[in-house]
Symmetry: C2
Subunit: 798 residues, 2 copies
Amino acid sequence: MSWIVQENGFDRRRITANGNKFMIGNGYMGYRGTLEEFGRAELTAVTLAGLYDRAGDQWREPINAPNGMFTQIYCRGELLSLLASEGEPLEHIQELDIRHAVHRRRTVYRMPGSADGGQVTVSMERFCSAKRLHLLAGRVSVQCSEDCELLIRTGIDGDVWDINGPHLAGLAGADAEGSLLLTGRTQELQVPVAVAEAWAWASAGETIAGGWRAIEAAVGAAGEMPAEMNELPLPWKTETKVGADFVFREIRLRCKAGETYTFHKFTAVFTGLDEGGDAGEAALKYSREAAALGYEALLKEHAESWERKWERSDVVIHGDGEAQAALRYSLYQLHIISPGHSEKLSIPARGLSGQVYKGAVFWDTEMFMLPFYLHTQPEIARNLLMYRVHTLDGARRKAAEYGYEGAFYAWESQETGDDACTLFNVNDVFTGRPMRTYFRDKQVHISADVAYGIWQYYLFTGDGSLLLEGGAEVAWECARFYYSYAYFNPGKQRYEILDVTGPDEYHERVHNNAFTNAMVKKCLSIALEAMAYLQEKQPWQYEALLSGSTVKPEQLREMHDRLYVPQPAADSRLIEQFDRYYMLEDLPLAELQSRMLNPHEYLGGGNGLATTTQILKQADVVLLLHLFSEGYDRDTKRANWEYYEPRTEHGSSLSSCIYALVAADIGIPDWAYPYFMRTATIDLTGDSKQYVGDLYIGGTHPAANGGAWMAAVLGFAGLRFDGGTVRFRPSLPGEWQGVEFPLCLRNQSFRIQVAPSKVTVQAHADNVRGLQFQWGEQIGFAGPGETVSFTCESTSLS
Amino acid sequence: MSWIVQENGFDRRRITANGNKFMIGNGYMGYRGTLEEFGRAELTAVTLAGLYDRAGDQWREPINAPNGMFTQIYCRGELLSLLASEGEPLEHIQELDIRHAVHRRRTVYRMPGSADGGQVTVSMERFCSAKRLHLLAGRVSVQCSEDCELLIRTGIDGDVWDINGPHLAGLAGADAEGSLLLTGRTQELQVPVAVAEAWAWASAGETIAGGWRAIEAAVGAAGEMPAEMNELPLPWKTETKVGADFVFREIRLRCKAGETYTFHKFTAVFTGLDEGGDAGEAALKYSREAAALGYEALLKEHAESWERKWERSDVVIHGDGEAQAALRYSLYQLHIISPGHSEKLSIPARGLSGQVYKGAVFWDTEMFMLPFYLHTQPEIARNLLMYRVHTLDGARRKAAEYGYEGAFYAWESQETGDDACTLFNVNDVFTGRPMRTYFRDKQVHISADVAYGIWQYYLFTGDGSLLLEGGAEVAWECARFYYSYAYFNPGKQRYEILDVTGPDEYHERVHNNAFTNAMVKKCLSIALEAMAYLQEKQPWQYEALLSGSTVKPEQLREMHDRLYVPQPAADSRLIEQFDRYYMLEDLPLAELQSRMLNPHEYLGGGNGLATTTQILKQADVVLLLHLFSEGYDRDTKRANWEYYEPRTEHGSSLSSCIYALVAADIGIPDWAYPYFMRTATIDLTGDSKQYVGDLYIGGTHPAANGGAWMAAVLGFAGLRFDGGTVRFRPSLPGEWQGVEFPLCLRNQSFRIQVAPSKVTVQAHADNVRGLQFQWGEQIGFAGPGETVSFTCESTSLS
């Protein structure tokens, strides 16, 4: 049952967590896993990718579209609601079929006014079409154990979650020949947003797919009295209600005991950013076309899309159902937010699960999510990186704002690439005052992360088009930024990178952060290589870039060669996280925590408890050892893992997967496994930090989801691709009998099976080229359709 | 009466402030202006210059010697005490004769057990000999209006003020043939400390000098029954009491109504740092020799010493008695703490008024006190600077500790030059936690301040011996430090000074602080000039310094020429305090203060309210304009004064005098006057900040005292000496008819009179060389014994 995620019973304290856990989406929008009758207070949200708004002087954030799936049911005049303070439902199940990305809920309510324990059973299903990106489709069934009158209120509800809203002005609802339409415009840029809904009784004989019993229905097409309805108890009628921020239809229905009544909703969301003219017209047309195709057909094409996603990405773990379920769920999360349709979108740090973190794109994408796409769906990887090309001007503006050359990418990037990050990001719990943090202005590694991602794409795919269409320019501009940011130390005759915040945000404004310096060095070499590629392929572009720059490639080369990157100490093998890190107080994490006076106090910032200690927020040096694994020997990795691991507070969800990866890399899967599981289950358990002060910061964690994939495939399976050869160094957890997964490298497809003492590579028959694979000293070449196996008596540490 | 500082009546809330206000001292020790019967709780302290101790793991601080002036009087078995909760004294006067540095108090108590309003009058006088540095001498008189029995307890009390004490271990008291002796050893370095007291009845006919009526006395030599005593009511006897931390003599005396009884105390303090063998023996010998000379003779030689101090330094203000009194008092404060006797001492930030700020020497000395000495008593200036030569190794150790070359002088310097400054200097009022501050590690301008002081001495005196005896080496080492601290910006092709804290401590860790960069540039040129001087005079030393250095003078020259110093903007004339200062929130000071949640909250540090705003702690750019006045035109000075003045919180006592100086410099004495008065009265009013949390940080403010002198002479009189010519640009406050003062420049003495339209220079007849003087276009040369006058129709702004 690793394809089904389910919760039984209703716990109002889980509403927010379940909103994340049961989310559906398709990259165009995310629909939180709230129930159909919920509203703003339960954080109901249809979060749209790439459409941001500023209301008043608050920060910019994505807008949540009106909720077209809104449905309430009244029985005998009384609202059937899980939120009512009195009375538990007789039964409540919420589930997500992650194989096909279908959300279902079934609730059995006590029937109001029933003397004999009457029940009303409500079943609802919905999906966010993977095939039709503007479409949310749903099915609603209701059955009563006694004859009764129901009022079903269903339509489009504009009263959805907003952190800094309202974002839609001039909301107007309308009944458009039986379809509903709610339109508005964003406050800041006046972008139209429209949601339309078409509605229809289910045709007879339909069933709800999945684990529940079939539900018979009895009716016909939208808005008309179907002939079959004559057989039903009358009266029934529909009426349209238009309010300030909603448009609903109210369906009055006299139900017969035991009979099931089912209808479908076809909701379309369009904005002014979409092609196709007027958003309202487009939404109406889209929803009607969907209705015309019918629910089952739509569900079928959606499910088929999902089958293809899994074919290209599913990781099968033999021998560990728990890990299997968690990992699949992580991949599900990545799939529902992948911007497969647009190269102007990337993935926000909280995916499409709401407005948290301003819906902004962080380094999370390049460093934690990109590997999954690079290995499985390079066309999505390309979109993610083209987003950086399209936002280059924003990065240039940010660099100029701080007096630098080139491109300083936004720490929190929205549609333009201008930085949405504020200078004050956390409130001091003791004074309530905003606290100055140095994320925006000092976390300079972001530009190198972007360049690194671009180069990885080129290595993994061999596709130089990204470089030619702006990727090389991005790398060049990032390198120019570093050249202007760097300083030369005349006494030590080396370049240094000063005054930065590394991944460990508890230590702001440090000098020579090992990770940052290594990334900058990498960025410089990438820029030089990318520029050489550009010079060869499109010399006129190369010349144009050079002529607009005071910095010459020779200067970047010199900086590259003389840039200081903190190295492992000769004796201890330790890499100091930044200059004078070892001078900081060295104490156990528990002791630090015992000093906390408030459970929500931020450990970093001006006076944070961690800032004067060696306690880190997240993997920093250890991340460096993961990214540049080939450059460091096992002893170095192990020494640093052992040193930094007890000093890491894991205040970031990006931390655990890195500790898992490096533990696997050094051949100690037992150290890695708990970190892998923590990463892979983060959105299932909802155990991560949810609030800072009174601000909700929860949501889904796509970087951790990507980290789970990395830990499994790059960590335990030990796969590394350098653009030429795929190397394995399996290091499977004890329980795992094997792990299987597809790969798409250099545009060739493979299926990989890794067992403790055997690795098998099957090249797809449709491949046009072979690829080299290696395990230890064994090297094999897998041409199209070929299978290559490596065996090993016992796993050894190379 | 500008020579007498007096308070009438007793207010226990003024005890601490008066401890500073009525202080006496002689550079070897400071004796707080507490009353003779006071102890630890009233902050009684005999603070010794240059002897520091660490007790346990607390910070190092100067020790307070046992109080040899301790005296209590019991009448009819009851202690006469101002501290008793019931009953005000009938009269209480405390006064300080600042001309001769004599402290007096007179208290009239209600007589215990008197039915007829009987009174006991106690008068005491004391001075800290300017001639005999180990000596504290005092006179005690008592008179009763009715016959009664008195118990006088007088001796040496070890229960004195300590912040982080106790510092003296193994305290032992003894009666040494009628003299008292209390000895102990410091905790950390086991340095012996001894206080001895000799005692004697006053001889008949002596009077207390000063404003009080003569007091007749009736007795003879110490410990013996004088013949005259036969005429007094008997019995009288003395008894010695030795306790854990005291040794007292108890004198029982049956007093005759109306008769005055007077005795003298001769107290000597010696430590193991003094020459002369055993400290206890030395103290006993010294106190007995003093007793043998007699009180009046000691007082006379002391007063003569003080007359000479004033001859060389007094500034006479015509037309403003209030300013006159405050300025003289400021000079008094400087005189009582001047280390005229030792080149291993400098002046702590709180003088010798206690242990506050660890008794440490800050930049205050070179930048705020040194000018007074340079213009009046260059031999003291030389001592202050030789202290820096003697602590060079400490500065080298600090530089090495942080990975730099050369000499990084201590922010808080004690006897070794190692930095006594901690990384955590202020407690957060909201959490009670120590707050990380960047005084120690980032306030790098201190090394340039030291080099600047050394060079000023050479310019002012023409005496190269300081350079040859280590001064050139200090300058060279400071310059080497900056070379290793600086970075070269390859894009901008300039050297920069990054990550520093300037004088404005509310903004820590800034880049290119204008003041710091200008000082570094000056330090580099000083080092080059000093080294050239050394090369000429003592080439072997020059070669030795060069051979021990990886840095060559050419490199310092190159850095000097290419060092970035923020310049006035072409339009506004404003100099930006540091990189991106203008980007900070710009708000009125009152608005910032209205945000404070706690009156004691520190505005700087991690989350301080000022840190993200343009509000400064103290003059920073404006200090630069004072120091480098010749380099900036009047418009620039005025524009910056007007910009920064309303943004300055004056959280430091070093701030006001600089605003006074620059206001006078630009010819607006009305702007300067309130700042001058604030500076000059700081230790009279005691209005400065006294507590941070529960920590007493008050004491005297020698930097402000020096600043008052600077404001008067360099500011209002407008005197500036560049080593060649003395220039005047008078800018007297409206009330001032003139100001007169002595000068000692290039070892030649002058008397200067400055009136609004006339400046007169009288060269001392004993001078051996002349000096050039200038006012505007007028130039005069004052040879030995000559008088030169300049007149001007009306004061004009040059």
